[in-house]
Symmetry: C2
Amino acid sequence: MLPCPSSVRSQSMQANNWLISSGGRRGALVDLFRESTSPVRSRVVVTDVSRLSAAGQHADEFELVPRISADNFLSETLRISKKHGCSTIVPTIDPEIAVLARARAQFRQHGVDIWVSSPQVAELGWDKWDLYRWLIEAGYPTIDTQEIAESRLVPFAGRVVAKPRTGSSSIGVLIVDNVESLRVSALTDDYILQRFAPGIEVTVDVAVDERGTVLATVPRRRLEVRAGEVSKGVTIHVPEIELLVRDMVTSLPGAYGVLNVQVIYDPETNSPKILEINPRFGGGYPLSHAAGGDLIGAMLRSKTGDTASETWRPGTVMLRYDEAKFYADQEFVLSPWS
Amino acid sequence: MLPCPSSVRSQSMQANNWLISSGGRRGALVDLFRESTSPVRSRVVVTDVSRLSAAGQHADEFELVPRISADNFLSETLRISKKHGCSTIVPTIDPEIAVLARARAQFRQHGVDIWVSSPQVAELGWDKWDLYRWLIEAGYPTIDTQEIAESRLVPFAGRVVAKPRTGSSSIGVLIVDNVESLRVSALTDDYILQRFAPGIEVTVDVAVDERGTVLATVPRRRLEVRAGEVSKGVTIHVPEIELLVRDMVTSLPGAYGVLNVQVIYDPETNSPKILEINPRFGGGYPLSHAAGGDLIGAMLRSKTGDTASETWRPGTVMLRYDEAKFYADQEFVLSPWS
């Protein structure tokens, strides 16, 4: 059991009180949560390890938490949830998924739900080699993949991509025209090799309820990427992609909450391939929401048995720009170099 | 003379009608221009080479222009200015600075001002080697720099930075602990070598009127950078930096408009060094503005002879996050892969 300081007088849990964990710069997501439950007044609490969080400035309450790797990350997160009566925790970054996935049952005993998938799905989201093996076994189309040991013996011909089997963004990714120009021997054992797949990258936002029912699938195409995050995108209507993702997510061992699935689609062969699963809100979720796909509302309605599929508008374009929150920080007045 | 199609019925020029050139994702800047001239109703026209411009969605009018390198970039920009009665053009990206700097006098004959410095200052902003020589000659502190040919003969000792003498962001930049680990012979002749300078990077937003009077200097520290652009920053009060930048900008051969100067400051030695000049609005300008340093208003007031220095608040923190404009684009409904 998690320790829970008895000195904290907790509010009663409210269905429309949210805790967005590791809020970072997700200011727009905080706003969407607040709007999703109107006209009922909702409250959004944001936690972060740094006080310099834009999402924290958007929130009704902002609380600092220890690092995810710290012993008291979970107990502090639970304490803050109870203090503010938050009945739902929404994780936002990869490193906390596995930690929160393992704690979900315990949090439920305290009346706090976490929109996070099972530890098995967390693992498939984290480890590309495990995901590849699961997809092949379950019969879903994906990119041909090898462990680095295998690729040293019988490498793929043609253009290949080498990447760490775990990890986010494009850190450590190498693309070469043929495997001979790759120093495979120099790559560490945690690398995998993938055949380069021609096509267009499509991200699908998915909402899944507690019984594993898929409530929504919204495919959006990345038109421009900036710092690993979509900066221009558009929702697109491609039934092949939605059907594949809906089927695959239903087969996952315990998907729950809002997640996103990366797909490579080759318009010439009409074939989508599954590339990656992120069992958390994608950074580009506000586009699906703006297109009418309110996955937050769909999750809430599913609690009352309403599992109708969300409808949304294709051809909705998102053009991102930098907005900012500003505040006065006396520390930098006293010492500019602090 | 620039050709100007006679078929366009131009509006009369309005002091508070703006053309923001190459608007891209500068949505926040468009908003600041509109607010700067309230309560008088202002209009902001944005141009861009792509229809997918967030700034274009913020503008009162959005117009496509040819590429900067195209023969008719200038004539189209002038035509659009006149069509909408824009008396001032505000450039925003490096590649257009030199082109607009050379055209400024011609545009003035049509009643259109461009907030851009002289071609000589444009050159100093573009070419790091030219800037170094100018700074040394004028007696301003900067980073020790060598042309690559010189560095092949007598290289600097210790940690060095190699970078293309022209170019933006950090493209092509190499940092090594000692010059021996750098294959200097492999670098092309357009590279320069700089001694690595310890310290903290500070950007100073500067407004300069037509007589070369500096109206404002707002130093802001970069706390976090994302995709080459400040994502967290804070205004700081450091008189040594402001005095140096004010003096240097006054000595420049024809600074005009809002520009920014990059400085490296070493708190241990109390010595600022000038690193770079960008003769255009910096991406982080909204922070200076939020701190009370309204450089747009200062430029406008200078027209009526008011050249009082802008005051602003140190310790103003900016935390950026992604906002977006959304619109329906029928083209992607008809063909998702267009």
